[in-house]
């Protein structure tokens, strides 16, 4: 939404750095679905899908789609070796019992204490929560990939979410086209910046109160 394809891939690439061999990872729709493109070949993970796949592989080539092998968004995928199918209650059993190491989601707003608001705009857009509440509440690590501001230019990283919450205090890391923030017990910390943006730009477009890391990383891609 609003971000060019190169920028979207930059966000996905940064999130991919957080993925380590052996993890079970769930990806949301939108920018998070680009993350596997940036995973080094020697990193082996199991991608989980809420409908009932563990070990989901990339999209098939055009013409090889199987209508009965789709991700949670209803789009064709493949199965990697070692992968399996299960029913949706098992897929969510995996989530609720804490077996998802990392989930990467989009969001409408995130607060400085890690509250996530990504399921409803009252009176405008009410798509439903799907599996977002369970994923945000139960995954060991939650990364949000999103635009820094909404389409009206309002900051999406806020002191307190104005939209109804999906979950409270569950986001660990936020990646936008401008910067990377860590949500810690000591508060929100700006740790990385995507050049050519500068700290002043990030400050002017962020409503939340945040600290700035002493060793700020300027991401080289």
């Amino acid at each position: 939404m609003g971000l060019g394809i190169e920028t979207r891939h930059r966000l996905a690439k940064r999130a991919a750095e957080e993925i380590k061999t052996g993890m079970v990872v769930n990806l949301g729709i939108g920018i998070p679905s680009l993350v596997p493109n940036h995973l080094p070949e020697d990193i082996k993970v199991m991608f989980h899908a809420e409908n009932g796949i563990v070990g989901m592989g990339p999209s098939p080539n055009s013409g090889d789609e199987d209508e009965n092998l789709c991700n949670a968004g209803g789009f064709p995928v493949t199965l990697n070796s070692g992968g399996s199918y299960c029913d949706s209650s098992i897929a969510f059993g995996i989530i609720r019992s804490g077996r998802i190491d990392l989930t990467i989601l989009g969001s409408l707003q995130v607060s400085q204490s890690g509250d996530l608001a990504n399921w409803i705009v009252p009176g405008k857009k009410v798509p439903g929560m799907g599996g977002a509440m369970e994923l945000a509440q139960k995954a060991k690590k939650v990364i949000v990939l999103m635009n820094h501001c909404d389409k009206n230019g309002s900051p999406k990283i806020v002191e307190k979410c104005t939209l109804p919450l999906t979950s409270s205090g569950t986001v660990n890391m936020i990646v936008t086209e401008l910067a990377v923030f860590q949500v810690t017990e000591a508060g929100l910390i700006l740790t990385e910046i995507f050049p050519p943006f500068e700290l002043e730009t990030v400050r002017s477009k962020t409503e939340a109160v945040f600290q700035v890391s002493k060793n700020i990383r300027r991401i080289a891609y």
């Binding site: 409908n51 299960c86 029913d87 209650s89 969510f92 609720r96 409270s168």
Partner: protein
Amino acid sequence: MENPFNKVTTLDQVLDFFHDGMTLMFGGFGGVGSPPGLIGGILEKKVKHLKLIGNDTGFPDIGIGKLVSNGRVDNVIASHIGSNPIAGRLMHEGKLDVEFSPQGILVERIRAGGVGLPGILSDIGTDNEIVAKDKPLVELNGKKYLVETALTAEVSIVYAKKADEYGNLIYDKSARNTNPLVAMAGKITIAEVEEIVSLGSLSPEEIITPGVFVDYVIPSKGVNWKWAWE
């Protein structure tokens, strides 16, 4: 000798079970794994005022979405309606009542209904005013949980890859999704299947839904919609 367990019948025969105002539970996730022939039959029979229970409202022309788009549905319990903008419009116009349930909790409520439990305890959305609305909170081992009620339906419709004459079911890849749960929660369960095989030809180790949960089996003619990615 005739097989006394034969549940195989036709679409026409099972259409008698669908009537105005009924509660209908359906298998499928984003349309994948929803039974196209049964949905088409319900649509043609002009059944209306349906109360639907299922994961989502599909896409406007895919899966259960067709019934919603054609104004045949009054109520739906689902986790998501975002892929069917018509459902969202009808909800805002006050023509469709939607109860949202977190996806995994919804399917667990369906499972509870199918396995004879009155409800489940959940810590998902305990502090969320929309999810927690009107639900009792109980304390167990020092933690608070929402009581989420079990769900059942007059009729459950599911889609499977293979059935034998007793209704033992095997599913197809991710089209399994909510089907095994939905299959258990119907007072009457009808399975639409790609292939019907004789009793004894499915490996007992492979059967996902034991036929004891299935009342009728009908052959599928395949999907009659175009997928969103096509």
